[in-house]
């Protein structure tokens, strides 16, 4: 049992820290902190991604042969924790963390050669076609159909809650290729060019006033058969593999600690000497200590070659609850300042003076947008079902 870093690990940490000190500019930090939605805009994240790309550090978890840095799990943890400490922008996970591992694991050599370098460079910006108006928690009942037509599939239907579809030039999607006895067996995994004729994107505004998600309509969209990943009917297993990455690659506590520190600073300004707020900030910090140790236990298992398994569901559950708890205390600390709502976006590029101080500006919108945390990536109830089976045999 040892939490301390080895000399080599400390050297690595210092290298990461120095790089971040040189490259994470105050403008980037400000833009990230004034983003109330879950994902930052690509105009913030892509320039940062290009800096990381030049260093070879975009995809910490990818194998070296595909452009990953070849780090040990501890090095990945050190990198992520230093990024959290420096408040570096969070890259969109859709390319690097989600579709990337699926292409690496199940894609054809041609797909790997074409897509992986473009994910790393940021040349391709991805969105996810999973949920449908009629298929949320019961994702396997999805009905957007891909029918074979020679060298192509013809896609008809609609996807929803599609984060950044309005920015993306690519979508990975689960589509129905057959109606079988078991609905999971008729699902296939596709890579779709968002500029294809027949695709329309309808913006959906969140209760926080952000345009982050969309509904995407497919009207006889032709997708080359070469864009099917793996084999027809195997999409469900690839999708589940991907969801384990979506539910947290096991490193979230340090980002939560950075958000809590921000919330604490704002609370000190707006609710100084408030015992109730102070008590709740302490309890959340204690929850983060525990989550961080849980993540380190997972990491230690990974280092010794064991599978994280159901712990990703446990981490997703608690991470989303802690995220929401931080937004609640931050909002309540504002007191009457919580009334003001700035409708213009982005908040870091307003061309008028806002009604409240900058620390307060994203707080209420972030609280509202963050209600999504216990819904996306599998609702808390879905996670509890997974855990009931995996941990308790129920």
């Amino acid at each position: 049992m040892r939490l301390a870093l080895t000399a080599d690990e400390r050297t690595f940490r210092d290298e990461v820290r120095a790089f971040l000190a040189d490259n994470v500019t105050p403008d980037l930090v400000r833009a990230q902190n004034l983003t109330p939605s879950v994902f930052a805009e690509p105009e913030i994240t892509l320039p940062w991604q290009r800096k990381l790309h030049a260093k070879g550090w975009v995809a910490p978890l990818w194998p070296k042969e595909h452009g990953g840095p070849g780090w040990t799990p501890t090095q990945v943890y050190i990198f992520e924790s230093e990024c959290a400490r420096a408040e570096a922008p969070r890259l969109s996970p859709l390319g690097v963390r989600m579709v990337g591992p699926v292409i690496i694991g199940f894609g054809s050599p041609a797909q790997k050669a074409h897509y992986l370098p473009r994910i790393l460079s940021g040349e391709d910006y991805w969105c996810q076609g999973y949920s449908e108006p009629g298929a949320g928690s019961d994702l396997a009942s999805l009905s957007t159909r891909a029918g074979r037509d020679g060298d192509h599939y013809i896609v008809n239907g609609s996807k929803i809650w599609t984060t950044h579809a309005h920015h993306a030039n690519r979508m990975f999607a689960l589509l129905r290729t057959s109606e079988g006895a078991r609905k999971q067996d008729g699902i296939s995994f596709f890579l779709i060019d968002m500029t294809s004729p027949g695709i329309t994107v309808r913006p959906i505004k969140t209760i926080g006033g952000d345009h982050e998600v969309n509904q995407v309509f497919f009207d006889d969209v032709r997708v080359p058969a070469a864009n099917l990943v793996g084999s027809e009917g195997s999409g469900w297993s690839y999708g589940k593999y991907l969801l384990e990455f979506e539910r947290g690659s096991g490193i979230s506590a340090l980002r939560l600690r950075a958000s809590l520190d921000r919330a604490r600073q704002a609370a000190l300004k707006f609710s100084a000497d408030d015992d109730d707020i102070a008590r709740r900030l302490a309890d959340i910090s204690i929850d983060i200590d525990s989550l961080e140790m849980t993540e380190l236990r997972v990491l230690s298992n990974l280092e010794s070659g064991q599978n994280p398994g159901h712990i990703s569901s446990l981490v997703k559950l608690r991470m989303s609850e802690i995220t929401q708890a931080i937004t609640v205390v931050a909002m309540e600390a504002l007191g009457p300042h919580a009334l003001a709502m700035e409708p213009a976006r982005p908040l870091y590029g307003l061309n008028h003076a806002p009604a409240v101080d900058e620390e307060a500006l994203p707080v209420v919108a972030r609280y509202l947008d963050s209600r999504a945390f216990t819904i996306f990536g599998g609702t808390s109830e879905v996670q509890r079902e997974i855990l009931a089976k995996a941990m308790l045999g129920l």
Binding site: R257, S285, L394
Partner: protein, 363 residues
């Protein structure tokens, strides 16, 4: 970074679990101290004590392997008070002669000393109302002296010794000492001590022992956190097993989502408590500075206490009316969690100490 137990530690854990599951019977639970000789024979009493005095040079992490197993079986032996608290303080503060006189007896099982520190104010703050005269005579009142009834060789009493805190050994028959023993909620006992010009022997020299006292409390809380992790996992296991067999409305109650999700929440709390307790034990074992150690311990006390109460309350609830009776074990785990919350700093006191110490991340 490495969070795996060694083969030796895993062996200690499984032998402790096996021994207590097979040999620790209800009659022993009802008579604290009755299993002490057996624990001595297993070498558990010397585990954290230096080999110079017959111990095994173990760390607090090693100790938590035993206390977790003890929590699982609701062991009522005074292990934390007599081995972690008072033996730890003797080793930290005592002179060579005092260590030689007391520690081998503790290791062999012939000497148990109780810890008298709390006075009704926050025990973590260092305030001491009990005073020591220059001639080492103590006056004042101590509360919540755990396991006083099973102590064979009196008490270690903390006192304000003018310039800083001192730790004093008081014999059970000392003049002016009154002991008011009372049963505790978890089937053990505690006592109030009234000291009136009571003669005592100071441990070691006149140095301020405040940090040694805090360190001993931190180690004891970390050991108790592991105990509660064992207790809540036992309560969880019993409840999950019951939910699978108890039939109502023609199906097991665990098939109802409302029960199932409650059980999952208990299991998650159990994992969270395990993480926090582990952090505390590591920080008590790895030479961390006092602030880092105390913050980890207070973090664990708050997290584990909240988890233990929630898990054991739910365990009682899901067992239905039977859970509220002495005929089942689950109520005993709830009682144990109440005792844990009450001693060596309440949840509120630990939260306040946590908030007062600067934020540092685990790694």
């Amino acid at each position: 970074m490495n969070l795996t137990w060694t083969d030796e530690q895993n062996a200690l854990r499984s032998s402790a679990e096996r021994f207590l599951a097979e040999r620790y019977i209800a009659a022993m639970r009802a008579a604290p101290g009755s299993a002490w000789e057996a624990l001595a024979q297993l070498g558990w009493l010397g585990l954290p004590i230096s080999s110079a005095y017959g111990g095994a040079d173990g760390s607090l992490l090693d100790v938590t392997l035993l206390t977790e197993a003890m929590g699982r079986q609701r062991v009522t032996e005074p292990y934390v008070s007599a081995v972690v608290l008072t033996a730890g303080l003797i080793e930290a503060c005592g002179s060579e002669a005092q260590k030689t006189a007391l520690l081998p007896g503790i290791v062999e099982g012939s000497c148990r000393i109780a810890f008298a520190h709390e006075e009704g104010v926050d025990p973590l703050l260092g305030y001491l109302g009990v005073t020591a005269s220059p001639g080492h005579r103590l006056s004042g009142r101590k509360l919540v002296v755990l396991d006083a009834a099973t102590a064979t060789h009196g008490f270690l009493v903390t006192a304000n010794a003018g310039r800083g805190a001192g730790v004093f050994h008081v014999a059970p028959s000392a003049a002016g000492l009154q002991i008011e023993t009372y049963p505790s909620v978890d089937g053990r006992s505690a006592a109030n001590l009234i000291l009136d010009n009571t003669p005592a022997e100071r441990l070691g020299d006149v140095r301020d022992r405040a940090e040694d006292i805090v360190r001993a409390i931190d180690c004891a809380v970390a050991a108790q956190c592991a105990d509660m992790v064992g207790a809540m996992h036992a309560a969880l296991d019993a409840t999950v097993a019951y939910a699978k067999v108890r039939q109502q409305f023609g199906r097991p109650i665990g098939a109802n989502q409302v029960i199932k999700h409650r059980l999952v929440e208990m299991a998650i709390r159990g994992e969270e408590a395990r993480s926090s307790a582990l952090l505390a034990a590591i920080r008590c074992s790895d030479g961390s500075d006092a602030a880092t150690r105390s913050r980890a311990v207070s973090s664990a006390k708050v997290k584990v206490a909240k988890a233990a109460r929630a898990v054991t309350e739910d365990a009682v609830h899901i067992h239905g009316a039977m859970g509220v009776t002495e005929e089942l074990d689950v109520g005993g785990y709830l009682q144990r969690s109440i005792a844990f919350e009450a001693v060596l700093g309440t949840v509120k006191q630990h939260r306040a100490r946590y908030a007062s110490l600067a934020s540092v991340s685990v790694s």
